[in-house]
Amino acid sequence: MPAFLELTGVSKYYPSAGGPPVRALDGVNLSAPRGEWIAIMGPSGSGKTTLLNILGCLDQATSGTVTIDGSETGRLNRSALARFRAETIGFVFQQFHLLPHLSALENVMLAQYFHSMTDENEARRTLDHVGLADRAHHLPSQLSGGEQQRVSIARALVNDPKIILADEPTGNLDHANKDIVIGLLSGLHKQGRTILMVTHDPQVGEFADRRIRLDHGRIVAA
């Protein structure tokens, strides 16, 4: 019986022109029980984003297996992957990646829509939860970075995912906003969600249950 989240020998190679392939991930083994908050740290280019993308099924591993909640993601077909992303995963990006032509509320509702059906009240409550009830109808371009990041957290939350994947969620934020975001993630953690968070910031890393360190695509310290 594998753990809730289990990676065995996961590698990701990118072909590079002329030279040997870039080993973004090189035989990563990782397992985590349900509800754990893991901080992934390491220098830039060490493969953190790649790891998160593979966990979130945005990218395919070159070799190795990824099992999340009993399903091996490498075996899922395209539509099953989309379902999986909609139901199990919530993404928070460093660059927020909100749709520019949709309001904050609509960006959240979009995730509901892909999951099952939209529920405007619930979307509003989620925005309220991240403290943006009064910004529901603003476009991303009318929001500050911190606010945009909170919208993207609300979007990640709204479908009640089992896993939150956050790629440097505080990387672009000031202190005040950083605290808000950390507060939100801690709340989620208390609700029993599994969180994988990439961060450069040791202080932020302290909030996690466990810290792993990547270097050149390998886990060098747990």
Partner: protein, 354 residues
Amino acid sequence: MFWRFVLSGLRYRRRRLLVTFSALAVASALATVLFSVYSDLDRKLRGEFRQNGANAVLAPAGDSATVPRGAVEEAERAGVAAAPFLFAVGRLGGEPVVVAAIDFGRAATLTGFWRVEGERRAAPGECLAGSEAAKHFGLASGQRVDLDSAPCILRGIVTTGGPEDAQILVPLGSAESVSLIQIRADAPRLPELRERMARKFPGVDLRLLYAVTETEANVVLKVGKVLFLLSVLILTITTLCVTTNFSALLLERRKEIGILKAIGAGERAIASLFFAESLTLALSSTFAGYAAGLVAAFWIGKRIFPSASGVLPGVDLLAFFPVAATTLTVAALATLLPASRIWRLEAAQVLRGD
């Protein structure tokens, strides 16, 4: 560094540029084809109309009843097709019938509309019969026709819906004068021909078959007009398409422009970079389109204007210059016009990205 920037920029975005490249290439191919077809259209059409039979007749004028046969050579020297006809009444089985003596060799180009069963021409000792005459006298191909003047072997039966249907057609011998000469001349040649014939053969009258000359002129004029209008239309649309393509290409790169500005590039420097990029793209696709257009024009020329002469009928090699000039101008303008809008954008705003 300048060209490195330009070329790597092109290479990096080749997927996206492929769209613009093919748009421009198709545009220049279209321009080349339309240009080739339209240039000299009236001459080419008139060339095709030569197959339509006579458009003028040399007939006796005043009191004379015949036309001297020398007029045929004279007309040919003027560069037109001419065929003499000599009519007489012969007798066949005791009945009168019109016997038309024809120079079959010369008449061939003017009698393309004849519907013939059997041979189209008769050698000495042979003859053809109009369909009505054949029916009337009960004649069939291969049979001997006992014309009183000179019996002949029937080689074919001709249906035209005109007077030939009631005639027996025999080869023209060495007669010095004939009843009339049918002429096919390019329309602009006719006035000159009339003057020339009037000088040399005062007893001869050049009659224009207005129904033919004017209808042809009319068709040439109107088809030319339609083709011109449509070509202009197509090229306008294509130009617009290319323009929006190039503009979009630039507008997509606001961020890049912001970065360039941020690292201290002057507006002039940025403009020349993008300008060079556009022109490189435009020039290469124009060449590709021009080459494709020439092939298409050649093929079309052979199909639509089979009678056109020359090494490359229907192809206008000179089309390259206007086509290239247009595409380059369009590409340059399409780059510079939106650029001015981008200068006004604050780099910071662009970089913030939304």
